[in-house]
Symmetry: D2
């Protein structure tokens, strides 16, 4: 398979956890060469200085994020805070570079909503129309021919993959969905903040943004796109004392009479051809550890006391299937590679 | 206050986490002397051999659990698996010993239900009738005059304290309650099991018993006792990669029009005289770390997007307010001590 | 004992881990009232806002650090970075306030050395002469009559308590001491830094400052004060993925023929009257968890393969015996209280 | 490269952490097919039942460990407690199967010493003579032509790689070596034991076997094989609250005048051709997290205060370079594959 041509990839925003995870995955990808990695704060420094685990593996220095250099890449990934890809994508696309944006800049089609949650003006309404939401399990075909991908957030990935089969099959009350989601601390990024200190977060659990989180409108939009109906979702994210992993516990109310084994069959059928989604046997309890470092999502379904509430458990690694891995999966689709290329790393257990 | 007489306490089942936490609290109690601690497996061994942190602090050896010795105590705590207090309580009560049972043996008034969940015959139906459910915030008066206390489980404590004001005020749909609860691993006890190894549970989150957990009927019974109506609850416990702490995230649906600040006022009023329940300001996010090692419960209330779902966050330390601390609180009430005696240790932060 | 008069205590630098640990201990102290807590950054804010675990327990707001207010206290603790106590102690002492400095400002009698390691001028050479090094196990008598205490650092406490009996007895080669010390991350303080993030420090171990750490000269000075001879020490601190605790592994070479049981007897004799130092049986392995949240030090001694290297294991909680607890122990001595007053909290296990 | 023939591998002892790590590595190896995995306790069960992270990745059931089945493999790995490979290796070798033993059965050439530490008779003295100690950085050539490999233990790997250049160059006092080594809890294996519970080991550090550990004679034998002289080593292992990783802190005393930069040059020269050993710049502090999940060893050298003690810091992943990865590296050498085949996974950061 090494006979296929190799492409050059650029990474904008290389000093965050998403950026460095992209480096890990792309270094192991059979068809990609990392051409450049940008960092405003660390430009000029050797990448191995900041990330000693890449010593002897990636012999590059961070560079300033400049369109000219990035323009020579085949694909550019944005692993940046919101607002950067917004401005830099257009000039890159004009040079024929494919853009995969891991930031939220093109995730919401509703500009008013985006501007409300991100507190700034969305300057690229035309570009936004062309952006494809990069959840391959929903948009595979559109992704394949897209030039600008908006990669889903970590929470939205876990929640949507868990809810989709139920909603597509029209089995539950769309007005009363609940997503209680637990995340490792790497989701908060690699930035100096007291709240992220191990002393603060190493032995406690807490919810945050319970009254409203930026991923809420993204999840709702994703679910509404699938159902074509209005969705009412309560979404409460929590911070867990671990580094990687997301565990979504999803509650919904059946509106029709159907057995658990029938629901299980619907899930298995829905994901039978998906390389990265595993439906575990009925009554399993997926462990976020079992997908750590891998691009996989594991899902299990419960019907407590045989009542009308269906509980779906969905786990991913927030930095892989919830970010860098999914971005690479999108890239594979865009370039016609095997969808699993470079994504075969097995979960870190124990 | 040291003028009040000192009582003798016995602990049955001293080699578990609940038992050793009782030792910590009783050693610091102004009116209690630990007279004996039993352990079938470690009888004869110095307690400090098994628990080196008690070296120089508790100069006793474990003894066999015998009624004769225990009968000379004023109060006996059972920190045992189910089935032990069931058989040993009656003879102790007959000798005038007060019994505080931290096991589930007397928590459910419904014998059929108890036998279903615990898989054995309940041999003490008469005794069960006299047992008082030891949640002081609900049953303070009955506790004061009881001779046999059934201490609530850890999950039931966090969930009931969180839900009570909403339910007592009749504000929410009793048929659709959801409790998504996260616990530290000490809740699984001090027993050799692969699932409890740090390698297995140190970097992952998982639900367990999602289809049915023994604490479910206890919570439902507690809520029904307060409301006098049938309660429908979905309860999903999760294991967190931390040692101590419970975080309950509670979802319910308003059936009446009421503002968040009014709900907040109801909560504050409900717990204004409670020494161990703190209602945080609206939109707070209690951290389980902030009650670690203390007997406190912290609660906060949210109304995401101003919709009809109310989210209550409730945190406790599973070994203190969820077990040993609550047991001591019950003891204080039974002996007429200040309810807070021996329970003033402040949370371990950081 | 409550008949003794109560004193007023001030804390300068209340927003760090040492400061908040002082609050925990002083809130539980029978003779102390916390009169004021200063914080430049959070002045005006309620303490419970910053530290929710103190909600309902300490009803104060942070104030600016001003001599006038602090001057009305009986004792002032400095839980500050270096350089603050240096300037503020003199005016407080002049007003009759006793000063207990948890910072390094008065730990080194050698001004040149201090200025070398702390990179600033030591402006108080006269005051330095009067300061007493607050290690009660060595300086109890001097502490009792001191007005300015320099509390030992966390590493120096664990290392000195471990080495002292060997060195006082003249048993080992003073030129070849090695202290390999492991610390929890709270030792790095409550400050926003990428290196302290849980993502960075939650699943790895690393040494730091192996070529030279500020606590090295303090340890050496302490050991030289006891032996009266030049000491050669190699000191390598390490960061562990845990919050609290220090484990010192100390290596030294016997210069005389003596059996392990004789050494054990020397240690037991040395600490027989010490309330906070426990010598475990020969060949024990103290666990830092067994002193977490307590003011205790546990020590054990080994002689691997019966050879000439003696290995001493010494554990403390860096925030208690290594900081705030030791400061309170010093205060107790200065005010004639029982040395253990307010210091009876038992280790957090599990 | 896929044109080279594929070999069949068997794993004896598949339910431990070393066994499952072998599965991860071999599943990603370009020339190996996992033919069978044995487990006495779980024979008949699907591997994915025990290890859900391998769902959809390895479709095998555990089998009984029988020579007949194993005899059809090209290579058999023993990931077993001591005593198993001892008995099963000879019949496999007779059938032409290459054997890579990750247990200690063939690590010590001195039978008396082996029997002392492992408490059983060594029944295969002739076989022991043919076994090659599988540390490729020392024995690469012998490994290539061996049929029975004794893979080094995790501690011995980290310690030997750290000490070797110093000792080979004859720079330090061989009688006074000290290895203070810190290990994650996965080193204790996947067996039900209270001491391994997260509640017991999640927030504390402790030494163990300080008076003598089975890896001591192995390390000494390895160092003596290289130096040809008697080596005196003090070795103290410690348990860290993390899952994977070893950090060795090595102390030795220079016997000759040499600068730190000269020592650094010696290290760099020693390992310049090694794919899995990285010598970091002088005064670096390798983090065990930076080699987690990888087969790499990172080393850094310090000379505190320019004195005669040299401190070498050496980190590996105990399950990879300390076990399964090194075993695969040996296999690659034995079969003439690229030494790095299947071993390119990059460290898990964060």
């Amino acid at each position: 398979m090494n006979m296929e041509k190799t492409i050059k990839a650029g990474i904008v925003g290389g000093t965050g956890y998403t950026g460095v995870e992209l480096m890990r995955l792309l270094l192991g990808h059979p068809h990609v060469e990392i051409a450049c990695v940008t960092s405003r704060t660390d430009a000029g420094k050797s990448i191995a200085t900041i990330y000693p685990h890449l010593t002897d593996l990636l012999d590059l220095a961070f560079i300033e994020p400049e369109i000219e250099t990035l323009g020579s890449c085949d694909v550019v990934f944005f692993a940046t805070p919101h607002g950067i890809a917004l401005e830099m994508s257009q000039p890159l696309l004009e040079q024929g570079v494919l853009v995969i944006d891991l930031s939220p800049d093109f995730r919401l089609k509703d500009i008013v909503c985006w501007e409300h949650w991100y507190g700034q003006k969305h300057t690229q309404p035309e570009l936004l129309k062309t952006a494809v939401y990069g959840l391959p399990e929903v948009n595979r075909k559109a992704i394949s021919s897209a030039s600008l991908i908006a990669c889903p957030g970590c929470y939205p990935t876990a929640v949507q993959l868990g809810f989709l089969p139920l909603l597509e099959a029209g089995l539950v009350d769309l007005g009363e969905l609940i997503a209680d989601v637990k995340s490792g601390v790497s989701g908060a990024g690699r930035k100096a903040a007291i709240s992220g200190l191990m002393s603060e977060s190493g032995e406690g659990v807490k919810a945050y943004a319970a009254s409203g989180h930026r991923h809420l409108p993204e999840i709702v939009a994703g679910l509404e796109a699938v159902t074509g109906e209005t969705v009412g979702l309560t979404f409460v994210p929590h911070l867990m004392p671990m580094i990687r992993g997301i565990h979504a516990t999803l509650y919904s109310k059946l509106t029709t009479k159907i057995s658990l084994s029938e629901i299980q069959a619907i899930y298995q059928q829905r994901y039978v051809d998906e390389s990265f989604v595993t439906v575990l046997p009925v009554n399993s309890h997926p462990d976020s550890q079992d997908v750590r470092m891998s691009n996989r999502c594991q899902i299990a379904i419960h019907q407590p006391q045989g009542a009308e509430v269906i509980v779906v458990l969905s786990v991913i690694d927030n930095l892989v299937k919830g970010a860098a891995g999914q971005a690479v999966q999108n890239m594979n689709l865009m370039f016609g590679y095997a969808e699993t290329a470079g994504l075969d790393s097995i979960a870190c257990y124990p």
